[in-house]
């Protein structure tokens, strides 16, 4: 109790080695160095004695009845079995499929792709029709005017056509005459 007020520490250079020495760790050289030192250093000897008194008490495992461990084991094994069961369920599902899974999945993928393309194309067509339906009225009007002007082009060509037609008539009359 006297030491409670004034904590005696071990020599600074040796404290870490003393802890290792207590646990039986450290190299032979380190252990030899500690052994030589504690023969002459009362503080370090007391430090080591304290460790020998205190630490084993703390290390004592809590004693639990065998029934606890039996229950623990049963419970853990049951949980593991359930985990194994879950993983084997997946494995069982996948294993028989392996032989024919590749062609089946490949065919299915091609079929889905084909259907998708067909539907997509239909949708695209419908979309393009829809797009036409959405053209503003002004533009449609302009378009009909363009058609009118193209018919005007034909009218402008009428004299040329008539001339061509007249020439053709004369030559045929000459041939007849």
């Amino acid at each position: 109790m006297e030491r409670k007020q004034t904590l005696e520490t071990a020599c600074r250079d040796f404290e870490e080695d003393l802890v290792l020495y207590y646990y039986g760790d450290g190299s032979e050289g380190e252990r030899g160095r500690v052994e030589v030192h504690i023969r002459t250093c009362a503080r370090c000897q007391r430090f080591l004695d304290d460790l020998r008194r205190l630490l084993p008490q703390m290390a004592q495992p809590e004693s639990l009845p065998q029934s606890f461990w039996d229950g623990y084991y049963r419970e853990t094994v049951a949980k593991l079995a359930a985990q194994r069961e879950r993983s084997s369920w997946w494995r069982n599902l996948l294993t028989p499929m392996r032989a024919w899974a590749v062609p089946v999945f490949a065919s299915a993928a091609v079929a889905v792709l084909a259907v998708g393309l067909l539907i997509g194309k239909g949708g695209w067509n419908a979309q393009s029709v829809g797009r036409r339906g959405n053209i503003p009225q002004e533009i449609l009007t302009d378009a009909s005017q363009l058609e009118f002007f193209s018919s005007m082009d034909v009218i402008e060509l009428l004299p040329t056509l008539e001339a061509l037609d007249g020439g053709k008539t004369e030559s045929s009359a000459g041939r007849n005459g």
């Binding site: 409670k4 802890v19 290792l20 646990y23 703390m58 009845p65 985990q83």
Partner: protein, 193 residues
């Protein structure tokens, strides 16, 4: 290997069998390490039920990851690492752990407690109880790494090299953690010496 009883198989052999799909061999590893796993978890959580859940969870995780075990470390180092990581996650999640006395477990078995009591004088028991409480408080207030190093060395008896593997650090660092933890405990328990 055929003549050997399953219980006599080495950890590495059991792991190899599990990796080959014979998961039932993992039960032997459970039997072998359940007490250690539980005690590590209890030292971190100070709660019997939490310790049970955490240590069982560690077994389940170890089993589900058994194919990832590459044999570069021993099974127990690998498994301890899983347990310790789960425990550290738990303490971080919980912040402050509910501190269940070690004696509370014995109280569940009064005949055992009675037997223990008859061997020691009441004042000795009171002192021992107080010392235990002080030690537990000191452990609780320690940084995670110091506590881990101390528990694995002092309570589990792991060599420093293995603790370094479990904690993924160097042996020199483990020595420092261990020294600091022991010095702190000694200081807090000196009046009980």
């Amino acid at each position: 290997m055929d003549d050997q009883k399953p219980q006599e198989l080495r950890d590495e052999e059991l792991v190899a069998l599990c990796q080959q799909g014979q998961g039932e061999y993992f039960d032997i590893l459970v039997r072998k390490y359940m007490e250690k796993a539980f005690h590590i978890a209890f030292n971190f959580t100070r709660d019997k039920e939490e310790a049970k859940d955490l240590s069982q969870d560690a077994f389940l995780r170890a089993f589900s990851r058994i194919k990832q075990f590459d044999g570069r470390s021993t099974f127990y180092t690998w498994f301890y690492r899983l347990v310790v990581n789960l425990c550290l996650d738990y303490t971080r999640r919980k912040g402050r752990v509910r501190w269940q006395s070690l004696d509370a477990i014995v109280e569940e078995n009064p005949e055992r407690a009675e037997l223990a009591d008859s061997r020691r004088a009441p004042e000795q028991l009171a002192m021992a109880g107080e010392a235990k409480h002080r030690a537990e408080s000191t452990l609780k207030s320690m940084p995670d790494k110091q506590r881990t190093a101390f528990l694995l060395r002092n309570h589990q008896g792991l060599p420093i090299a293995d603790i370094a593997k479990v904690m993924k650090t160097t042996e020199a660092t483990v020595r420092v953690y261990l020294h600091r933890a022991v010095a702190a405990l000694r200081q807090s328990l000196l009046e009980f010496v």
